[in-house]
């Protein structure tokens, strides 16, 4: 495996609808931004880039098959190699990792990874129907296929198992909306209170409209390269580029039907799923033993085994043994406030069952921002400093790449340049994690990015 650098990225304007441009042209907004940020023009970059990976989730939304090649050709990349990847909500995260593979394997020196979704071409509830088709059409979809409903069932189980509260869920929304207030790329700019979140219309009990991300049109692009590729880009640009390295990738999976997920024992959990810092702590072992004695089983429908496996692999590759202390920020897939809480646990930022209190603790908040909440702890590892999916939007095929772009900018220290505001710049950020998740926890990717020392 060769070292892989994430040198640049771009994000289009995320909006409820982008009727002004075709999907190819929206992708080109993000792509051109990424190229220009290196200091190259279209022609210079086209001469250097070896190929692309494109991502979008649903052929239904655009009623266009093979949109990947249409983007590749619009970007002037023919006849260079390219392919499209798809994996539900994790499509963008998978795209990033496939580009990493292309570079790491030696197949390409410079690879462009871009993704998009146009969700505005159908009415919202039809869009929900398309998304719900990403559930078993024999056994799940016909019962009342609705993703918010699926996630809400996980929430009720999480609440029952651990005592998680709706206010803890709402705190995630308050945090992410508040962060997004300083992110010009975010689709939504509003300050919220816990009361606002709880008083918004109930969608799937106990999730309200403000617990759930919105549908968006948008695109994102990143440029990955090897050391050789970096040298070529730097030579063409005539300058040294900031070095952000991809130091770990991981991907986990789980059964499409939530009903099929295992309910495993303490021993199985400890042997197969526990993270190094959990295995080493006697106190944590005692904590988990107590959970199991109360009837807890893993992963059940309250936890994402795929998220844990993705984290475990990525941490191992990057040499992370205590994620909360060793990662400076996380951009994770908060399609629902509840999935952010579940993901804290999967990623080992807290223990299983402690996601609710962790959400309220302040540890995942940004320093220097007034959230209007009483937080017990100081920020340790800001989660979704960009505002996440909840406030930025979730144009599915672009989302995982949007996270990568924001992470690249954090690690380059260029948030001020791109956001025209330094409020969301995490001081001296050295290592970040990005987490992309497909419904209902089927594919999860985790990638670790680091500023090169």
């Amino acid at each position: 495996m060769r070292p892989v650098y994430a040198v640049s990225g771009g994000v289009s304007k995320f909006a409820k609808a982008r009727p002004d441009k075709t999907f190819q042209a929206v992708i080109k907004e993000a792509y051109d931004y990424a190229i220009n940020d290196i200091g190259l023009d279209f022609k210079q970059f086209t001469e250097i880039v070896d190929g692309s990976v494109s991502s979008y989730f649903s052929d239904h939304f655009s009623r266009q098959l093979m949109a990947g090649i249409m983007a590749h050709d619009y970007l002037g990349l023919c006849p260079k190699p390219g392919h499209r990847v798809e994996g539900g909500g994790a499509t963008g995260g998978i795209c990033f990792q496939e580009a990493w593979k292309a570079v790491s394997s030696g197949y390409m020196d410079v690879c462009a990874a871009y993704g998009f979704e146009t969700m505005s071409h159908v009415e919202t509830w039809k869009g929900n129907e398309f998304i719900a088709l990403a559930s078993d059409v024999s056994f799940d979809y016909p019962v009342g296929g609705f993703y918010s409903g699926y996630y809400a069932m996980m929430v009720t189980r999480h609440m029952k198992e651990f005592g998680t509260t709706v206010e803890q869920l709402a705190a995630v929304s308050v945090k992410n909306y508040m962060n997004a207030f300083y992110n010009p790329y975010a689709q939504k700019h509003q300050r919220l209170s816990i009361k606002d979140v709880r008083n918004s219309p109930m969608v799937a009990w106990p999730l309200t409209r403000l617990d759930i991300c919105v549908m968006s049109d948008g695109a994102a692009a990143t440029i990955l390269c090897s050391e050789e590729g970096l040298a070529k880009l730097e030579k063409a640009a005539g300058k040294r580029l900031p070095r952000v390295k991809v130091t770990g990738i991981g991907r986990g999976t789980d059964a499409m039907r939530m009903s099929d997920r295992p309910h495993d024992s303490y021993e199985k959990f400890m042997n197969s799923y526990a993270l190094p810092h959990e295995k080493e702590s006697r106190e944590t072992q005692a904590y988990y033993k107590k959970l199991w004695s109360r009837g807890f089983r893993y992963p059940g429908v309250h936890s994402f085994r795929a998220g844990r496996m993705g984290s475990k692999q990525a941490y191992q590759m990057a040499g992370i043994t205590d994620p909360l202390k060793e990662i400076d920020f996380v951009e994770l897939h908060d399609a629902y406030t509840s999935s952010e809480i579940q993901t804290y646990e999967d990623m080992g930022l807290c223990r299983y069952g402690e996601g609710g209190p962790f959400a309220m603790s302040g540890k995942a908040f940004m320093p220097g921002i007034d959230y209007g909440l009483k937080l017990k702890n100081k920020p340790i590892c800001p989660v979704n400093p960009s505002g996440g999916l909840i406030a930025c939007g979730h144009p599915v095929g672009a989302t995982g790449l949007m996270q990568a772009v924001f992470a690249i900018w954090q690690l380059q220290g260029t948030i001020k340049k791109h956001f025209k505001d330094a409020k969301l710049q995490i001081k001296d950020a050295k290592r970040g994690a990005i987490h992309s998740h497909a419904g209902t926890g089927t594919y999860v990717t985790v990638s670790i990015l680091e500023k090169e020392k």
Binding site: F139, T156, A204, V301
Partner: protein, 188 residues
């Protein structure tokens, strides 16, 4: 529709689909007006699309035949006994082909939600309750509709509630041919 004649040079027109009789456009095309086209707002039109599928339940078909006959079937690994409350042709741990077993008509609510909104297809049915049911002797769950509880009074106490299967009389050959109600609910 009239057949195209081979010597026809003018395409026959009709009034089906999107019809526009006049769309504003520059009267004269010169350098200026062509440049001004860059400022034109996008044309957005309605584009319906309808598909019918033939959906085979394939190896899962006996489950639906069971529901039509008021029998709730699951699958079991013949060697390990691992039992699926939602049909599955092969066991995920051994790879063995599973066999059919009858599951109890009574179970317990494992998780639930009340959908106040839904996909377009189910929007008219809101609010409805989705629930995952666990069964004694089964290792996996079953997704179903729960009736007989007030959707406007959702409560975590519903988790753990004993429920029993009811079957619709006019089978639609869907998993909703069976639904669950609180075990103590009266027979109607």
């Amino acid at each position: 529709m009239a057949k195209n004649k081979t010597n026809e040079t003018k395409r026959e027109e009709n009034l089906e689909g999107t019809i526009v009789f006049n769309l504003p456009f520059p009267r004269k095309l010169d350098k200026e007006s062509l440049k001004a086209l860059k400022d034109m707002t996008p044309i957005v039109k309605r584009q319906p699309y309808h598909v019918e599928y033939l959906h085979s339940y394939a190896q899962d078909s006996p489950f639906f035949a069971g529901l039509t006959n008021r029998v709730f079937l699951g699958n079991r690994d013949p060697k390990t006994g691992y039992t699926y409350a939602t049909p599955r042709g092969a066991d995920m741990y051994t790879g063995n082909e599973t066999e059919w077993v009858r599951l109890p008509d009574e179970g317990t609510v494992h998780a639930f939600t009340v959908c106040h909104f839904g996909s377009e297809e189910f929007l008219p049915e809101t609010p409805f309750v989705l629930a995952l049911i666990e069964f004694e002797g089964a290792n996996t769950l079953f997704l179903t509709r729960l009736l007989g509880v007030d959707p406007h009074r959702a409560s975590l106490d519903w988790i753990g509630m004993r429920v029993r299967a009811r079957y619709i009389r006019n089978s639609k050959l869907k998993p909703t041919d069976v639904y669950f109600v609180p075990a103590e609910a009266k027979e109607e």
